[in-house]
Protein backbone atom coordinates (compact mmCIF):
# COMPACT_ATOMS: atom_id res chain seq x y z
CA UNK A 1 0.00 0.00 0.00
CA UNK A 2 1.45 3.33 -1.08
CA UNK A 3 2.15 5.81 1.67
CA UNK A 4 -0.11 8.86 1.59
CA UNK A 5 1.80 12.14 1.47
CA UNK A 6 -0.70 14.81 0.59
CA UNK A 7 -4.46 14.71 0.77
CA UNK A 8 -6.42 17.63 -0.63
CA UNK A 9 -10.10 17.52 0.12
CA UNK A 10 -12.79 19.76 -1.36
CA UNK A 11 -10.40 22.70 -1.76
CA UNK A 12 -12.07 26.02 -2.55
CA UNK A 13 -9.85 29.03 -3.22
CA UNK A 14 -11.39 32.45 -3.67
CA UNK A 15 -10.09 35.83 -4.76
CA UNK A 16 -11.33 39.18 -3.58
CA UNK A 17 -11.86 41.31 -6.66
CA UNK A 18 -13.77 44.42 -7.65
CA UNK A 19 -16.60 42.06 -8.66
CA UNK A 20 -16.71 40.45 -5.21
CA UNK A 21 -15.28 37.12 -4.10
CA UNK A 22 -14.68 34.83 -7.06
CA UNK A 23 -13.75 31.14 -6.88
CA UNK A 24 -10.67 30.11 -8.83
CA UNK A 25 -10.62 26.58 -7.42
CA UNK A 26 -14.00 24.89 -6.81
CA UNK A 27 -14.03 21.88 -4.53
CA UNK A 28 -10.98 20.05 -5.83
CA UNK A 29 -9.93 16.79 -4.12
CA UNK A 30 -6.92 14.66 -4.88
CA UNK A 31 -4.03 12.96 -3.18
CA UNK A 32 -0.36 12.31 -3.76
CA UNK A 33 1.51 9.25 -2.53
CA UNK A 34 5.15 8.99 -1.69
CA UNK A 35 7.24 8.45 -4.81
CA UNK A 36 4.35 9.29 -7.11
CA UNK A 37 4.07 11.96 -9.81
CA UNK A 38 0.65 13.53 -10.17
CA UNK A 39 0.13 15.84 -13.12
CA UNK A 40 -2.43 18.63 -13.00
CA UNK A 41 -3.41 19.48 -16.57
CA UNK A 42 -5.58 22.16 -18.07
CA UNK A 43 -5.64 25.38 -20.08
CA UNK A 44 -4.07 28.55 -18.74
CA UNK A 45 -6.38 30.00 -16.13
CA UNK A 46 -8.14 26.75 -15.21
CA UNK A 47 -6.93 26.97 -11.61
CA UNK A 48 -4.07 24.49 -11.71
CA UNK A 49 -1.42 26.96 -10.52
CA UNK A 50 -3.75 28.36 -7.88
CA UNK A 51 -4.34 24.82 -6.61
CA UNK A 52 -0.61 24.30 -6.18
CA UNK A 53 -0.09 27.74 -4.60
CA UNK A 54 -2.96 26.96 -2.22
CA UNK A 55 -1.13 23.86 -1.01
CA UNK A 56 2.01 25.89 -0.31
CA UNK A 57 -0.13 28.72 1.10
CA UNK A 58 1.62 31.15 -1.21
CA UNK A 59 -1.52 32.72 -2.65
CA UNK A 60 -1.43 36.37 -3.67
CA UNK A 61 -2.70 38.83 -1.04
CA UNK A 62 -6.25 38.89 -2.34
CA UNK A 63 -6.55 35.09 -2.44
CA UNK A 64 -7.63 32.76 0.35
CA UNK A 65 -8.56 29.14 0.93
CA UNK A 66 -12.16 29.46 1.97
CA UNK A 67 -13.11 25.80 2.29
CA UNK A 68 -11.67 22.33 2.38
CA UNK A 69 -8.62 20.74 3.86
CA UNK A 70 -5.02 20.15 2.84
CA UNK A 71 -3.36 17.42 4.87
CA UNK A 72 0.36 16.98 4.41
CA UNK A 73 2.26 14.29 6.35
CA UNK A 74 -0.76 14.06 8.61
CA UNK A 75 -0.84 17.77 9.44
CA UNK A 76 -3.66 20.09 8.45
CA UNK A 77 -2.05 22.97 6.52
CA UNK A 78 -5.06 25.25 6.19
CA UNK A 79 -5.28 25.75 9.95
CA UNK A 80 -1.55 26.16 10.49
CA UNK A 81 0.05 29.40 11.70
CA UNK A 82 2.33 31.21 9.25
CA UNK A 83 5.50 30.50 11.24
CA UNK A 84 4.71 26.78 11.39
CA UNK A 85 4.02 26.72 7.67
CA UNK A 86 7.29 28.51 7.07
CA UNK A 87 9.11 25.65 8.75
CA UNK A 88 7.61 23.26 6.19
CA UNK A 89 8.10 25.43 3.12
CA UNK A 90 11.47 24.91 1.48
CA UNK A 91 12.04 22.09 3.93
CA UNK A 92 9.42 19.33 3.71
CA UNK A 93 7.64 20.79 0.69
CA UNK A 94 9.26 22.81 -2.04
CA UNK A 95 8.18 24.47 -5.22
CA UNK A 96 9.69 25.42 -8.55
CA UNK A 97 8.14 27.93 -10.87
CA UNK A 98 7.52 28.54 -14.52
CA UNK A 99 9.89 31.44 -15.18
CA UNK A 100 13.37 30.73 -13.90
CA UNK A 101 14.40 34.24 -15.03
CA UNK A 102 12.05 36.02 -12.67
CA UNK A 103 11.89 33.36 -9.96
CA UNK A 104 15.49 33.93 -8.94
CA UNK A 105 16.37 37.17 -7.19
CA UNK A 106 18.41 39.23 -9.67
CA UNK A 107 20.48 41.08 -7.07
CA UNK A 108 21.75 38.13 -5.04
CA UNK A 109 24.24 35.47 -6.08
CA UNK A 110 23.20 31.90 -6.79
CA UNK A 111 25.20 30.95 -3.70
CA UNK A 112 23.27 33.32 -1.44
CA UNK A 113 19.97 31.94 -2.69
CA UNK A 114 20.92 28.30 -2.38
CA UNK A 115 22.50 28.70 1.07
CA UNK A 116 19.40 30.39 2.44
CA UNK A 117 17.13 27.33 2.91
CA UNK A 118 20.04 25.30 4.28
CA UNK A 119 20.79 27.93 6.88
CA UNK A 120 17.13 28.41 7.79
CA UNK A 121 15.98 24.79 7.99
CA UNK A 122 19.13 22.77 8.55
CA UNK A 123 20.87 25.43 10.65
CA UNK A 124 24.08 24.98 8.68
CA UNK A 125 26.90 27.49 9.08
CA UNK A 126 27.84 29.72 6.15
CA UNK A 127 30.73 27.41 5.22
CA UNK A 128 28.76 24.17 5.54
CA UNK A 129 25.89 25.67 3.55
CA UNK A 130 28.33 26.78 0.88
CA UNK A 131 29.82 23.31 0.58
CA UNK A 132 26.38 21.72 0.50
CA UNK A 133 25.30 24.28 -2.12
CA UNK A 134 28.15 23.27 -4.42
CA UNK A 135 27.17 19.63 -3.94
CA UNK A 136 23.55 20.41 -4.85
CA UNK A 137 24.54 22.30 -7.98
CA UNK A 138 26.68 19.34 -8.98
CA UNK A 139 23.75 17.01 -8.31
CA UNK A 140 21.47 18.92 -10.69
CA UNK A 141 24.11 18.75 -13.38
CA UNK A 142 25.59 22.24 -13.31
CA UNK A 143 29.19 22.40 -14.54
CA UNK A 144 31.74 24.45 -12.55
CA UNK A 145 29.49 24.63 -9.47
CA UNK A 146 32.08 26.55 -7.42
CA UNK A 147 32.11 29.32 -9.99
CA UNK A 148 28.31 29.37 -10.30
CA UNK A 149 27.93 30.01 -6.58
CA UNK A 150 29.26 33.55 -7.01
CA UNK A 151 27.35 34.27 -10.21
CA UNK A 152 24.03 36.06 -10.64
CA UNK A 153 20.96 34.71 -12.40
CA UNK A 154 21.42 37.00 -15.42
CA UNK A 155 24.77 35.36 -16.06
CA UNK A 156 23.16 31.92 -16.51
CA UNK A 157 21.16 30.40 -19.36
CA UNK A 158 17.46 29.56 -18.95
CA UNK A 159 18.07 25.85 -18.46
CA UNK A 160 20.84 26.56 -15.99
CA UNK A 161 18.58 28.89 -14.01
CA UNK A 162 15.88 26.23 -13.79
CA UNK A 163 18.51 23.76 -12.57
CA UNK A 164 19.48 26.28 -9.90
CA UNK A 165 15.82 26.60 -8.91
CA UNK A 166 15.59 22.82 -8.65
CA UNK A 167 18.76 22.70 -6.56
CA UNK A 168 17.30 25.33 -4.21
CA UNK A 169 14.00 23.45 -3.99
CA UNK A 170 15.73 20.17 -3.24
CA UNK A 171 18.26 21.64 -0.81
CA UNK A 172 16.53 20.23 2.26
CA UNK A 173 15.43 16.98 0.60
CA UNK A 174 11.68 17.69 0.63
CA UNK A 175 9.02 14.99 0.72
CA UNK A 176 6.87 16.86 -1.76
CA UNK A 177 7.96 18.85 -4.80
CA UNK A 178 5.47 21.06 -6.59
CA UNK A 179 6.63 21.99 -10.07
CA UNK A 180 4.49 24.67 -11.67
CA UNK A 181 5.10 24.39 -15.42
CA UNK A 182 8.83 23.97 -14.89
CA UNK A 183 9.61 23.50 -18.57
CA UNK A 184 7.21 25.93 -20.26
CA UNK A 185 9.76 28.73 -20.55
CA UNK A 186 12.54 26.46 -21.76
CA UNK A 187 13.37 25.21 -25.24
CA UNK A 188 12.53 21.63 -26.13
CA UNK A 189 15.92 19.95 -25.68
CA UNK A 190 16.33 21.58 -22.28
CA UNK A 191 12.75 20.59 -21.36
CA UNK A 192 13.57 16.91 -21.70
CA UNK A 193 16.72 17.30 -19.59
CA UNK A 194 14.85 19.10 -16.82
CA UNK A 195 12.04 16.52 -16.79
CA UNK A 196 14.56 13.69 -16.62
CA UNK A 197 16.36 15.46 -13.82
CA UNK A 198 13.17 15.88 -11.79
CA UNK A 199 12.30 12.25 -12.42
CA UNK A 200 15.75 11.00 -11.37
CA UNK A 201 15.74 13.11 -8.22
CA UNK A 202 12.25 11.90 -7.40
CA UNK A 203 13.50 8.30 -7.50
CA UNK A 204 16.60 9.21 -5.52
CA UNK A 205 14.80 11.10 -2.76
CA UNK A 206 11.51 9.17 -2.85
CA UNK A 207 9.58 12.41 -3.19
CA UNK A 208 6.01 12.90 -4.25
CA UNK A 209 5.79 15.27 -7.19
CA UNK A 210 2.93 17.49 -8.32
CA UNK A 211 3.61 18.60 -11.87
CA UNK A 212 1.43 21.39 -13.16
CA UNK A 213 1.42 21.59 -16.93
CA UNK A 214 -0.66 22.20 -20.03
CA UNK A 215 1.61 20.03 -22.14
CA UNK A 216 0.24 16.51 -22.79
CA UNK A 217 3.72 15.46 -23.93
CA UNK A 218 5.09 16.24 -20.47
CA UNK A 219 2.20 14.33 -18.90
CA UNK A 220 2.89 11.24 -20.99
CA UNK A 221 6.54 11.37 -20.03
CA UNK A 222 6.42 11.85 -16.28
CA UNK A 223 2.97 11.23 -14.82
CA UNK A 224 1.83 8.27 -12.75
CA UNK A 225 -1.57 9.82 -12.26
CA UNK A 226 -3.26 12.71 -14.05
CA UNK A 227 -5.88 15.15 -12.90
CA UNK A 228 -7.58 17.28 -15.56
CA UNK A 229 -8.92 20.64 -14.44
CA UNK A 230 -11.39 22.89 -16.18
CA UNK A 231 -12.61 26.29 -14.95
CA UNK A 232 -11.58 25.60 -11.36
CA UNK A 233 -12.96 22.06 -11.15
CA UNK A 234 -11.43 18.63 -11.38
CA UNK A 235 -13.24 17.00 -14.30
CA UNK A 236 -11.31 13.78 -14.71
CA UNK A 237 -8.68 11.84 -12.82
CA UNK A 238 -6.99 8.64 -13.91
CA UNK A 239 -3.74 6.77 -14.04
CA UNK A 240 -1.73 7.88 -17.03
CA UNK A 241 -2.36 4.79 -19.22
CA UNK A 242 -6.07 4.88 -18.68
CA UNK A 243 -6.27 8.60 -19.39
CA UNK A 244 -4.43 8.38 -22.69
CA UNK A 245 -6.04 5.14 -23.87
CA UNK A 246 -9.52 5.70 -22.57
CA UNK A 247 -10.26 9.39 -21.93
CA UNK A 248 -13.85 9.93 -20.85
CA UNK A 249 -14.54 13.64 -20.57
CA UNK A 250 -15.10 15.48 -23.87
CA UNK A 251 -12.66 18.15 -22.64
CA UNK A 252 -9.92 15.58 -21.96
CA UNK A 253 -10.53 14.07 -25.39
CA UNK A 254 -10.26 17.55 -26.86
CA UNK A 255 -6.97 18.19 -25.04
CA UNK A 256 -5.53 14.93 -26.35
CA UNK A 257 -6.68 15.69 -29.90
CA UNK A 258 -5.06 19.12 -29.80
CA UNK A 259 -1.59 17.59 -29.46
CA UNK A 260 0.22 17.71 -32.82
CA UNK A 261 1.21 14.35 -34.28
CA UNK A 262 4.51 14.49 -36.15
CA UNK A 263 4.30 10.90 -37.39
CA UNK A 264 1.08 11.42 -39.28
CA UNK A 265 1.47 13.93 -42.12
CA UNK A 266 -2.28 14.21 -42.63
CA UNK A 267 -2.99 14.79 -38.96
CA UNK A 268 -5.41 17.66 -38.49
CA UNK A 269 -5.00 19.53 -35.24
CA UNK A 270 -8.35 19.80 -33.51
CA UNK A 271 -8.82 22.80 -31.30
CA UNK A 272 -11.45 22.90 -28.58
CA UNK A 273 -13.90 25.62 -29.69
CA UNK A 274 -14.48 28.62 -27.44
CA UNK A 275 -12.44 29.87 -24.51
CA UNK A 276 -12.24 29.28 -20.79
CA UNK A 277 -14.98 31.23 -18.96
CA UNK A 278 -14.02 34.23 -16.84
CA UNK A 279 -13.99 33.81 -13.07
CA UNK A 280 -16.96 36.14 -12.77
CA UNK A 281 -19.11 34.34 -15.36
CA UNK A 282 -22.08 32.56 -13.83
CA UNK A 283 -22.49 29.13 -15.41
CA UNK A 284 -25.28 26.76 -14.50
CA UNK A 285 -24.90 23.03 -14.90
CA UNK A 286 -21.63 21.64 -16.21
CA UNK A 287 -19.00 24.37 -16.51
CA UNK A 288 -17.91 22.98 -19.86
CA UNK A 289 -21.37 22.68 -21.47
CA UNK A 290 -21.16 25.74 -23.73
CA UNK A 291 -18.01 24.40 -25.37
CA UNK A 292 -19.11 20.77 -25.44
CA UNK A 293 -20.51 19.30 -28.65
CA UNK A 294 -22.31 16.55 -26.72
CA UNK A 295 -24.02 18.82 -24.21
CA UNK A 296 -27.57 17.82 -23.30
CA UNK A 297 -30.31 19.71 -21.50
CA UNK A 298 -29.20 18.12 -18.23
CA UNK A 299 -25.64 19.40 -18.77
CA UNK A 300 -27.00 22.95 -19.04
CA UNK A 301 -28.98 22.82 -15.81
CA UNK A 302 -27.36 20.39 -13.39
CA UNK A 303 -23.80 20.22 -12.19
CA UNK A 304 -22.48 16.73 -13.04
CA UNK A 305 -21.69 14.25 -10.27
CA UNK A 306 -18.56 12.13 -10.18
CA UNK A 307 -18.77 8.79 -11.99
CA UNK A 308 -16.34 5.96 -11.47
CA UNK A 309 -14.96 4.41 -14.65
CA UNK A 310 -12.70 2.02 -12.79
CA UNK A 311 -10.74 1.95 -9.51
CA UNK A 312 -8.23 4.51 -10.74
CA UNK A 313 -10.43 6.52 -13.03
CA UNK A 314 -13.16 9.01 -12.19
CA UNK A 315 -14.89 11.61 -14.34
CA UNK A 316 -17.44 14.38 -13.84
CA UNK A 317 -19.66 14.27 -16.89
CA UNK A 318 -23.35 13.51 -17.41
CA UNK A 319 -22.54 11.51 -20.55
CA UNK A 320 -21.24 8.81 -18.22
CA UNK A 321 -24.70 8.35 -16.78
CA UNK A 322 -26.05 7.49 -20.23
CA UNK A 323 -23.10 5.21 -21.04
CA UNK A 324 -23.14 3.41 -17.70
CA UNK A 325 -26.93 3.11 -17.96
CA UNK A 326 -26.54 1.62 -21.46
CA UNK A 327 -23.87 -0.76 -20.25
CA UNK A 328 -25.90 -1.96 -17.30
CA UNK A 329 -28.90 -2.34 -19.62
CA UNK A 330 -26.72 -4.34 -21.99
CA UNK A 331 -25.47 -6.58 -19.18
CA UNK A 332 -29.00 -6.99 -17.92
CA UNK A 333 -30.31 -8.00 -21.33
CA UNK A 334 -27.37 -10.36 -21.98
CA UNK A 335 -28.07 -12.03 -18.63
CA UNK A 336 -31.64 -12.72 -19.60
Amino acid sequence: MAELLLDVNNLVTKFKTADGKLSAVRGVSFSVNKGETVCIVGESGCGKSITSLSIMNLLPNNGEISEGSVRFLGQELTKMRQDELRKLRGNKMAMIFQEPMTALNPVFTVGFQIREPLKIHKRLSQREAHRKGIELLKQVGIPYPEKRMSQYSHELSGGMRQRVMIAIALACRPSLLIADEPTTALDVTIQAQILDLIDDLKEELGMGVIMVTHDMGVVAEVADRVMVMYAGEKIEEADVESLFSNPQHPYTKGLLKSVPNVDDRNHQLEAIPGTLPNLNEVITGCRFHNRCEFATEKCRTQSPKTFTVNDEHTVRCWLQEVEQHDESAATASSNQ
Binding site: L104, N105, V107, T109, P117, H121, H154
Partner: protein, 313 residues
Protein backbone atom coordinates in the same frame (compact mmCIF):
# COMPACT_ATOMS: atom_id res chain seq x y z
CA UNK B 1 34.21 51.93 -13.57
CA UNK B 2 37.29 54.14 -13.93
CA UNK B 3 36.27 54.76 -17.54
CA UNK B 4 32.86 55.93 -16.38
CA UNK B 5 34.37 58.32 -13.87
CA UNK B 6 36.74 59.81 -16.46
CA UNK B 7 33.94 60.11 -19.00
CA UNK B 8 31.72 61.86 -16.47
CA UNK B 9 34.49 64.26 -15.48
CA UNK B 10 34.96 65.26 -19.12
CA UNK B 11 31.20 65.71 -19.44
CA UNK B 12 31.30 67.83 -16.31
CA UNK B 13 33.84 70.18 -17.90
CA UNK B 14 31.66 70.68 -20.97
CA UNK B 15 28.61 71.12 -18.78
CA UNK B 16 30.27 73.71 -16.59
CA UNK B 17 31.38 75.70 -19.64
CA UNK B 18 27.80 75.67 -20.93
CA UNK B 19 26.34 76.64 -17.57
CA UNK B 20 28.87 79.39 -17.02
CA UNK B 21 28.01 80.81 -20.45
CA UNK B 22 24.28 80.78 -19.80
CA UNK B 23 24.64 82.31 -16.33
CA UNK B 24 27.11 84.89 -17.60
CA UNK B 25 24.86 85.96 -20.44
CA UNK B 26 21.67 86.03 -18.41
CA UNK B 27 23.34 88.17 -15.75
CA UNK B 28 24.66 90.60 -18.33
CA UNK B 29 21.47 90.74 -20.34
CA UNK B 30 19.19 91.29 -17.36
CA UNK B 31 18.57 94.89 -16.28
CA UNK B 32 20.50 96.37 -13.35
CA UNK B 33 23.98 97.78 -13.31
CA UNK B 34 26.55 96.54 -10.79
CA UNK B 35 28.54 99.76 -11.13
CA UNK B 36 25.70 101.96 -9.96
CA UNK B 37 25.01 99.61 -7.05
CA UNK B 38 28.68 99.67 -6.02
CA UNK B 39 28.80 103.46 -6.45
CA UNK B 40 25.76 103.90 -4.24
CA UNK B 41 23.03 106.55 -4.53
CA UNK B 42 25.44 109.49 -4.24
CA UNK B 43 27.77 108.48 -7.08
CA UNK B 44 27.91 110.72 -10.12
CA UNK B 45 27.71 109.51 -13.71
CA UNK B 46 31.51 109.82 -14.09
CA UNK B 47 32.15 107.85 -10.88
CA UNK B 48 29.99 105.06 -12.18
CA UNK B 49 31.71 105.15 -15.57
CA UNK B 50 35.06 104.88 -13.78
CA UNK B 51 33.88 101.86 -11.79
CA UNK B 52 32.59 100.30 -15.01
CA UNK B 53 35.92 100.79 -16.71
CA UNK B 54 37.69 99.45 -13.68
CA UNK B 55 35.62 96.23 -13.64
CA UNK B 56 35.97 95.81 -17.39
CA UNK B 57 32.22 96.14 -17.82
CA UNK B 58 32.64 98.31 -20.89
CA UNK B 59 34.35 95.55 -22.87
CA UNK B 60 32.21 93.52 -25.30
CA UNK B 61 30.32 90.78 -23.43
CA UNK B 62 32.18 87.95 -25.16
CA UNK B 63 35.52 89.48 -24.25
CA UNK B 64 34.36 89.77 -20.66
CA UNK B 65 33.31 86.12 -20.75
CA UNK B 66 36.66 85.07 -22.20
CA UNK B 67 38.49 87.02 -19.51
CA UNK B 68 36.35 85.43 -16.83
CA UNK B 69 36.87 81.90 -18.17
CA UNK B 70 40.62 82.44 -18.42
CA UNK B 71 40.57 83.05 -14.70
CA UNK B 72 38.26 80.10 -13.96
CA UNK B 73 40.51 77.67 -15.82
CA UNK B 74 43.36 78.81 -13.58
CA UNK B 75 41.18 78.27 -10.52
CA UNK B 76 40.47 81.96 -10.06
CA UNK B 77 36.77 82.66 -9.75
CA UNK B 78 37.42 86.39 -9.49
CA UNK B 79 36.62 88.91 -6.80
CA UNK B 80 33.30 90.01 -5.46
CA UNK B 81 32.24 93.41 -6.83
CA UNK B 82 30.57 94.09 -3.55
CA UNK B 83 32.96 92.99 -0.81
CA UNK B 84 36.18 92.74 -2.84
CA UNK B 85 36.60 89.31 -1.22
CA UNK B 86 37.86 86.40 -3.35
CA UNK B 87 34.85 84.45 -4.64
CA UNK B 88 36.47 81.07 -3.95
CA UNK B 89 37.22 82.09 -0.40
CA UNK B 90 33.71 83.38 0.21
CA UNK B 91 32.24 80.13 -1.15
CA UNK B 92 34.63 77.92 0.82
CA UNK B 93 33.78 79.60 4.12
CA UNK B 94 30.04 79.38 3.44
CA UNK B 95 29.93 75.96 1.79
CA UNK B 96 30.14 73.72 4.92
CA UNK B 97 26.88 75.21 6.21
CA UNK B 98 25.12 74.46 2.95
CA UNK B 99 26.55 70.97 2.76
CA UNK B 100 25.50 70.21 6.35
CA UNK B 101 22.02 71.46 5.63
CA UNK B 102 21.77 69.51 2.37
CA UNK B 103 23.02 66.26 3.90
CA UNK B 104 20.80 66.61 6.98
CA UNK B 105 17.80 67.26 4.72
CA UNK B 106 18.69 64.29 2.56
CA UNK B 107 18.84 62.06 5.66
CA UNK B 108 15.41 63.34 6.74
CA UNK B 109 14.09 62.79 3.21
CA UNK B 110 15.49 59.28 2.78
CA UNK B 111 14.62 57.96 6.24
CA UNK B 112 11.08 59.33 6.23
CA UNK B 113 10.50 58.74 2.52
CA UNK B 114 11.70 55.16 2.28
CA UNK B 115 10.06 54.06 5.54
CA UNK B 116 6.74 55.67 4.70
CA UNK B 117 6.85 54.28 1.17
CA UNK B 118 7.50 50.73 2.30
CA UNK B 119 4.88 50.76 5.04
CA UNK B 120 2.36 52.18 2.56
CA UNK B 121 3.16 49.45 0.07
CA UNK B 122 2.91 46.65 2.63
CA UNK B 123 -0.37 48.01 3.98
CA UNK B 124 -1.76 49.04 0.63
CA UNK B 125 -5.11 50.87 0.84
CA UNK B 126 -5.08 50.82 4.66
CA UNK B 127 -5.57 54.03 6.63
CA UNK B 128 -1.78 54.28 7.05
CA UNK B 129 -1.35 54.15 3.29
CA UNK B 130 -4.06 56.71 2.66
CA UNK B 131 -2.76 59.13 5.27
CA UNK B 132 0.80 58.72 4.02
CA UNK B 133 -0.43 59.54 0.51
CA UNK B 134 -2.24 62.64 1.74
CA UNK B 135 0.75 63.80 3.78
CA UNK B 136 3.04 63.14 0.80
CA UNK B 137 0.90 65.18 -1.55
CA UNK B 138 0.81 67.95 1.05
CA UNK B 139 4.59 67.67 1.45
CA UNK B 140 5.12 68.07 -2.29
CA UNK B 141 2.70 70.98 -2.50
CA UNK B 142 3.75 73.04 0.52
CA UNK B 143 6.35 75.69 -0.35
CA UNK B 144 9.58 75.65 1.68
CA UNK B 145 9.39 79.21 2.91
CA UNK B 146 5.88 78.71 4.28
CA UNK B 147 6.70 75.42 6.01
CA UNK B 148 9.89 76.96 7.46
CA UNK B 149 8.00 79.93 8.83
CA UNK B 150 5.28 77.76 10.36
CA UNK B 151 7.85 75.43 11.97
CA UNK B 152 9.66 78.43 13.46
CA UNK B 153 6.39 79.84 14.77
CA UNK B 154 5.37 76.54 16.37
CA UNK B 155 8.62 75.01 17.63
CA UNK B 156 10.83 78.04 18.18
CA UNK B 157 8.55 80.93 19.02
CA UNK B 158 5.62 79.00 20.50
CA UNK B 159 7.05 75.91 22.21
CA UNK B 160 10.58 77.31 22.39
CA UNK B 161 12.09 73.84 21.88
CA UNK B 162 14.46 74.74 19.08
CA UNK B 163 16.44 77.83 18.04
CA UNK B 164 14.88 80.26 15.58
CA UNK B 165 17.74 80.20 13.14
CA UNK B 166 21.44 80.35 12.46
CA UNK B 167 23.92 77.53 12.09
CA UNK B 168 26.72 78.69 14.33
CA UNK B 169 27.57 75.46 16.19
CA UNK B 170 29.25 72.44 14.60
CA UNK B 171 26.69 69.79 13.60
CA UNK B 172 28.07 67.07 15.89
CA UNK B 173 27.22 69.04 19.04
CA UNK B 174 23.75 68.94 20.58
CA UNK B 175 23.31 72.65 19.94
CA UNK B 176 24.39 72.25 16.33
CA UNK B 177 21.91 69.40 15.82
CA UNK B 178 19.13 71.44 17.36
CA UNK B 179 19.94 74.22 14.95
CA UNK B 180 19.81 71.81 12.01
CA UNK B 181 16.52 70.07 12.83
CA UNK B 182 14.01 72.66 11.62
CA UNK B 183 15.88 73.70 8.45
CA UNK B 184 16.48 70.03 7.57
CA UNK B 185 12.80 69.20 7.96
CA UNK B 186 11.80 72.29 5.99
CA UNK B 187 14.09 71.42 3.13
CA UNK B 188 13.70 67.65 3.28
CA UNK B 189 9.89 67.38 3.36
CA UNK B 190 9.34 67.86 -0.36
CA UNK B 191 11.97 65.26 -1.23
CA UNK B 192 10.71 62.89 1.48
CA UNK B 193 7.30 63.04 -0.13
CA UNK B 194 8.65 62.29 -3.60
CA UNK B 195 10.83 59.47 -2.31
CA UNK B 196 7.85 58.04 -0.40
CA UNK B 197 5.69 57.98 -3.53
CA UNK B 198 8.45 56.33 -5.54
CA UNK B 199 9.31 53.78 -2.82
CA UNK B 200 5.67 52.87 -2.49
CA UNK B 201 5.15 52.18 -6.16
CA UNK B 202 8.38 50.23 -6.70
CA UNK B 203 7.82 48.25 -3.52
CA UNK B 204 4.28 47.38 -4.61
CA UNK B 205 5.71 46.06 -7.83
CA UNK B 206 8.53 44.14 -6.20
CA UNK B 207 6.46 42.41 -3.49
CA UNK B 208 4.41 40.85 -6.28
CA UNK B 209 7.52 39.66 -8.09
CA UNK B 210 8.18 35.97 -8.62
CA UNK B 211 11.44 36.00 -6.70
CA UNK B 212 9.65 37.27 -3.60
CA UNK B 213 7.32 34.28 -3.89
CA UNK B 214 10.38 32.06 -4.30
CA UNK B 215 11.84 33.47 -1.10
CA UNK B 216 8.58 32.68 0.73
CA UNK B 217 8.54 29.21 -0.85
CA UNK B 218 12.00 28.64 0.64
CA UNK B 219 10.64 29.38 4.11
CA UNK B 220 12.38 32.73 4.51
CA UNK B 221 10.99 34.86 7.35
CA UNK B 222 8.60 37.57 6.19
CA UNK B 223 10.84 40.31 7.63
CA UNK B 224 13.80 39.03 5.63
CA UNK B 225 11.63 38.69 2.55
CA UNK B 226 10.75 42.38 2.73
CA UNK B 227 13.92 43.99 4.06
CA UNK B 228 16.43 41.85 2.20
CA UNK B 229 14.90 40.24 -0.87
CA UNK B 230 12.42 42.95 -1.84
CA UNK B 231 14.04 46.14 -0.56
CA UNK B 232 17.27 45.89 -2.49
CA UNK B 233 15.36 45.44 -5.73
CA UNK B 234 12.93 48.22 -4.90
CA UNK B 235 15.74 50.65 -4.10
CA UNK B 236 17.16 50.81 -7.62
CA UNK B 237 14.65 53.33 -9.02
CA UNK B 238 14.40 55.06 -5.65
CA UNK B 239 18.12 55.86 -5.71
CA UNK B 240 17.62 57.68 -9.01
CA UNK B 241 14.96 59.84 -7.43
CA UNK B 242 17.21 60.49 -4.45
CA UNK B 243 20.01 61.67 -6.75
CA UNK B 244 17.73 63.95 -8.71
CA UNK B 245 16.23 65.29 -5.50
CA UNK B 246 19.65 66.31 -4.33
CA UNK B 247 19.51 68.90 -7.11
CA UNK B 248 16.19 70.21 -5.87
CA UNK B 249 17.61 70.25 -2.35
CA UNK B 250 20.56 72.38 -3.41
CA UNK B 251 18.14 74.76 -5.08
CA UNK B 252 15.97 74.70 -1.97
CA UNK B 253 18.85 75.75 0.27
CA UNK B 254 18.56 79.25 -1.21
CA UNK B 255 15.15 79.78 0.37
CA UNK B 256 15.71 77.70 3.49
CA UNK B 257 18.96 79.48 4.34
CA UNK B 258 17.14 82.75 3.94
CA UNK B 259 14.27 81.70 6.22
CA UNK B 260 16.58 80.32 8.94
CA UNK B 261 19.30 82.97 8.57
CA UNK B 262 21.96 80.42 7.74
CA UNK B 263 25.14 81.76 6.21
CA UNK B 264 25.46 79.32 3.36
CA UNK B 265 26.09 79.43 -0.36
CA UNK B 266 22.38 79.83 -1.05
CA UNK B 267 22.16 83.03 0.93
CA UNK B 268 25.39 84.20 -0.63
CA UNK B 269 23.80 83.69 -4.03
CA UNK B 270 20.67 85.69 -3.17
CA UNK B 271 22.70 88.57 -1.82
CA UNK B 272 24.94 88.46 -4.89
CA UNK B 273 22.01 88.42 -7.30
CA UNK B 274 20.44 91.42 -5.53
CA UNK B 275 23.73 93.31 -5.75
CA UNK B 276 24.40 92.27 -9.38
CA UNK B 277 27.63 90.79 -8.07
CA UNK B 278 28.34 88.83 -11.27
CA UNK B 279 31.47 86.89 -10.22
CA UNK B 280 29.85 85.74 -6.96
CA UNK B 281 26.67 84.54 -8.69
CA UNK B 282 28.63 82.67 -11.34
CA UNK B 283 30.95 81.08 -8.81
CA UNK B 284 28.05 79.82 -6.67
CA UNK B 285 26.09 78.49 -9.61
CA UNK B 286 29.13 76.63 -10.94
CA UNK B 287 29.62 75.03 -7.54
CA UNK B 288 26.01 73.89 -7.32
CA UNK B 289 26.11 72.51 -10.88
CA UNK B 290 29.34 70.60 -10.25
CA UNK B 291 27.93 69.21 -7.03
CA UNK B 292 24.78 68.02 -8.77
CA UNK B 293 26.79 66.21 -11.43
CA UNK B 294 29.02 64.62 -8.78
CA UNK B 295 26.07 63.39 -6.74
CA UNK B 296 24.54 61.81 -9.82
CA UNK B 297 27.85 60.16 -10.63
CA UNK B 298 27.87 58.71 -7.12
CA UNK B 299 24.30 57.51 -7.72
CA UNK B 300 25.40 55.73 -10.88
CA UNK B 301 28.22 54.08 -8.98
CA UNK B 302 25.80 53.00 -6.24
CA UNK B 303 23.62 51.33 -8.90
CA UNK B 304 26.39 48.98 -9.86
CA UNK B 305 26.84 48.06 -6.21
CA UNK B 306 23.14 47.37 -5.62
CA UNK B 307 22.34 45.80 -8.96
CA UNK B 308 24.86 43.33 -10.38
CA UNK B 309 23.17 43.55 -13.78
CA UNK B 310 24.55 47.07 -14.11
CA UNK B 311 28.24 47.06 -14.89
CA UNK B 312 30.37 49.88 -16.25
CA UNK B 313 33.30 47.79 -17.33
Amino acid sequence: MVGLIIRRMLQLVVLLIGISFIVFMSMHLSPGDPASIIGGPTATESDIEAIRNNLGLNDPVLVQYANYMTGVVQGDLGFSYQTKQSVSEAIITRFPNTLNLAIASMIVAVVIGVTAGIISALKQNSWIDVSSTVVSLAGISIPNFWLGTVLILVFSVGLQWLPVGGLSEPFWTIEGMKQLILPAITLGTGSAAMIARMSRSTMLEVIRADFVRTARAKGVKEKTVIWVHALRNAMIPVITVIGLNFGFLLGGTIITEQVFAINGVGRLMIEAIAARDFPMVQGSVLLVAALFVLVNLIVDLIYSVIDPRISYD
